[in-house]
């Protein structure tokens, strides 16, 4: 077995360990709240969307798609040495871009998707610029721009730009009626899952994950970005424009989050509600655990996102008679907390293994 495959297996093992512990904690919580139905509840969580075939699978796909993108967004930044906690804000801007081009400009879906990407990219670029040229930590800038973005988008949608907000439903107009040309094609998938918004978006997200993998690992561009991430002084020494790369990384990271918003809203599943102004979209933040769980590997992100969507959907099927729907959130949050330790799990396993190896060699 080569070192690389060993490392990959070890990473997967560490992530699975964290998932298992998280689920066990979840089971314990279920037991504490209502022991009698704990197993039934737990099995619903484990079954996820499969509990309600085929629609549940459809909604799992719908939820996983933007999660893959925000996960990629965070993972991409991680790979280049940055912590993009601003995916939520970039996602919000992406929503605006997509819906503006759809509802107001009546553009075809790929143009809208591009618009979402550009809006997200701009919102990612700003923290990048602050980091590169003013030496302001990207975490703090991203947090601030999350809120600025949320207020800005709400202000724009609710009062500045007319024609986006539907007074009657208290959210933006439905794309299916107001801008059908902007819907991402479903290629028959909706029929398969008996839903209306299962589109090819999931494949677009997966394709982007693969592209990201190739870019990071096979191209000079990826080589430069990662070099900046690992050691920006060394990158500068090697003649790489590290400032430009920081901005570029954050821009791409933001673009990925923006695409996530585009894929979700252009699938027609949901409408934006600008009145709920105190909350940033959770999908932006959930990209963080997804990236962590995947140890920032783009392919891993796809699986991690599907997993998180899976248990979130399963959590929604908990019998409300015994359990609050928020239990699912709690379990996800516990897994997230544990995710912070995935690296640690990994290094513990490594040191355990190497100690064993050392002992064996001693014996020799």
């Amino acid at each position: 077995m080569s070192e690389k495959t060993k490392d990959v297996l070890l990473s997967i093992f560490a992530s699975l360990l964290c998932i298992v512990i998280g689920l066990l904690v979840g089971l314990i919580i279920l037991y504490c709240i209502n022991a009698e139905n704990a197993l039934d509840g737990f099995s619903r969580i484990i079954k996820g969307g499969f509990y309600l075939k085929p629609k549940g699978i459809g909604s799992e796909i719908a939820q996983a798609t933007p999660l893959i993108m925000t996960g990629l967004s965070v993972a991409f930044a991680f790979k280049t040495g940055l912590f993009n906690i601003g995916a939520a804000g970039q996602y919000t801007l992406g929503v605006f871009g997509a819906l503006y081009f759809a509802l107001i400009l009546q553009m075809p879906w790929y143009v809208c998707l591009l618009a979402a990407m550009v809006c997200g990219a701009i919102w990612g670029a700003v923290p990048g610029i602050f980091k590169a040229y003013f030496n302001v930590n990207e975490v703090i800038t991203s947090i601030m721009f999350n809120w600025i973005g949320l207020y800005l988008v709400n202000e724009l949608m609710y009062s500045t730009v007319s024609g986006m907000y539907d007074q009657k439903t208290t959210r933006t107009y439905k794309l299916s009626s107001a801008a059908p040309q902007s819907l991402i094609p479903d290629c028959g998938m909706s029929a398969v899952f008996k839903t209306s918004s299962t589109t090819i978006a999931i494949f677009i997200a997966m394709a982007i994950a693969i592209i990201m993998y190739v870019v990071l690992n096979k191209t000079t561009f990826g080589y430069e970005l990662k070099a900046c991430g690992f050691n920006k002084d060394a990158a500068k020494y090697a003649g790489i424009n590290e400032k430009r790369n920081i901005v570029l990384s954050m821009t791409i990271s933001g673009a990925l989050a923006g695409i996530g918003a585009g894929l979700y809203y252009l699938s027609g599943a949901s409408e934006w509600n600008p009145q709920v102004s105190t909350a940033l979209p959770a999908i932006g933040f959930n990209g963080i655990p997804v990236a962590l769980l995947a140890l920032s590997n783009p392919i891993g992100v796809v699986f991690a996102a599907i997993f998180v969507a899976h248990i979130s959907v399963g959590g929604a099927y908990l019998p409300t008679k015994y359990y609050q729907p928020e239990i699912a959130d709690l379990i996800v949050a516990v897994i997230i907390y544990l995710c912070a330790f995935v690296m640690l799990f990994k290094s513990v396993v490594v040191s355990k293994l190497s100690r064993k190896k050392a002992k064996k060699e001693d014996v020799k």
């Binding site: 939820q63 007074q167 059908p180 209306s196 949901s270 009145q275």
Partner: protein, 374 residues
């Protein structure tokens, strides 16, 4: 005061007593009468739209009605909360409820329109009761209008009439600086608010006094520090009474009113027992009793009488809307129950009309200035 737990006071029984007298009596009666006919082998499922069953508004009132009904008649009940605020998840929630064996599904909120359109024919054996939903809401996912099937009963209320009464009464009672604090600007809330302004306007014109109104949607169905701060600003700025119309958002209005000797107008049910004396009146609607009678019809074997029907419940149809007139709940000083009944009759016989347009702000005369705060 309002420090006591909100849970006890918002039980279904309170709803019932709070509902306009006539309707309530009718509901009680029919329950009693139909009691032997109630067959317990059904199962009630209630689905929330985008909020929670604890919104102290339509979701909660509906749920509590279902709970009371189920407990009384030994019928199983459960609620479902869609995983996301999307039509698809609302549809999934219906599927889940059906899979869990629900035979009658209660859905409060106009957001259920598309879900009903998509699901009604899929489950012909399941009955759907949707409140606060109008025929215009029943569109499929592509926005095409769909008729309702026989297993569906929908109803909505003319909240503008209740709002009208509240506004009219308040101005008649001598208040000249009023406020409207909405929750999320859903159609029902807007109807309440716009009716309120029309009532204010008519009373101000009649009396020839100048009235100013501040009008604001908080964007949430619960109170918070920010809303309280805004309300304190209003009361301190001279606002005398605020119509707090959006579930739990009233707590913020009450907080502020307590500090500045302001008054509050409650909504949906008589809130004076819960809020106390600073609640001068409440704009009520008979949501609970409507649900109750629909459930009665279903379990009493009379589904055919309402199935396939879409009702718009207003004062012309019955005492579905109004202000509480018990002496305990009457917080006005100069405005009398007789004056109230006069207006009520006007609304019933159609001599007074209240616009239910939610798209355009109501027109007001020269005596009234409305400040729509963003």
């Amino acid at each position: 005061g309002c420090g006591s737990s909100s849970e006890e006071n918002t039980t279904a029984d309170n709803n019932q007593t709070a509902a306009p007298a006539a309707t309530e009596a009718a509901a009680e009666e029919s329950t009693e009468a139909a009691a032997p006919a109630v067959s317990a082998d059904g199962k009630i499922a209630m689905i929330t739209d985008s909020g929670d069953i604890t919104d102290e508004s339509f979701n909660q009132i509906t749920w509590e009605t279902c709970v009371a009904y189920g407990d009384k008649n030994g019928i199983e009940y459960q609620y479902y909360k869609p995983a996301e605020d999307t039509d698809e998840e609302r549809i999934n929630a219906i599927d889940l409820a059906v899979a869990d064996g629900a035979t009658v599904i209660v859905m409060p909120g106009y957001l259920f329109g598309p879900a009903i359109a998509e699901e009604q024919d899929l489950y012909p054996d399941v009955s759907f009761i949707a409140v606060d939903v109008t025929e215009a809401d029943i569109v499929d996912l592509s926005g095409n209008a769909v008729g309702i099937s026989d297993n569906v009963y929908i109803c909505s209320f003319q909240e503008e009439q209740a709002g009208y009464l509240a506004g009219y009464a308040a101005v008649k009672d001598g208040y000249t600086s009023l406020g409207f604090l909405g929750g999320i600007a859903v159609p029902a809330v807007i109807r309440y608010g716009y009716g309120y302004i029309q009532g204010i306007n008519d009373a101000a014109e009649e009396m020839g006094v100048d009235v100013d109104v501040k009008y604001y949607y908080g964007g949430q169905f619960y109170g918070s520090d920010a809303i309280t701060a805004r309300m304190e600003g209003w009361y301190q700025d001279g606002t005398q009474v605020v119509f707090a119309c959006g579930g739990g958002i009233y707590t913020s209005a009450v907080e502020a009113a307590e500090q500045y000797d302001g008054k509050v107008i409650g909504v949906d049910v008589d809130q004076r027992p819960k809020i106390g004396d600073l609640c001068i009146t409440s704009a009520m609607k008979g949501l609970g009793s409507a649900v109750n009678s629909a459930l009665d019809a279903y379990f009493g074997g009379n589904w055919a009488s309402i199935g396939g029907k879409s009702e718009q419940l207003g004062l012309a149809q019955g005492d579905y809307l109004g202000l509480p007139t018990d002496t305990d709940s009457w917080g006005f000083t100069t405005f009398t129950v007789d004056e109230y009944n006069t207006v009520l009759d006007g609304l019933k016989d159609g001599s007074i009309t209240v616009s239910n347009d939610t798209e355009n702000q109501p027109e007001v005369g020269s005596h009234v200035t409305v400040d729509y705060v963003e």
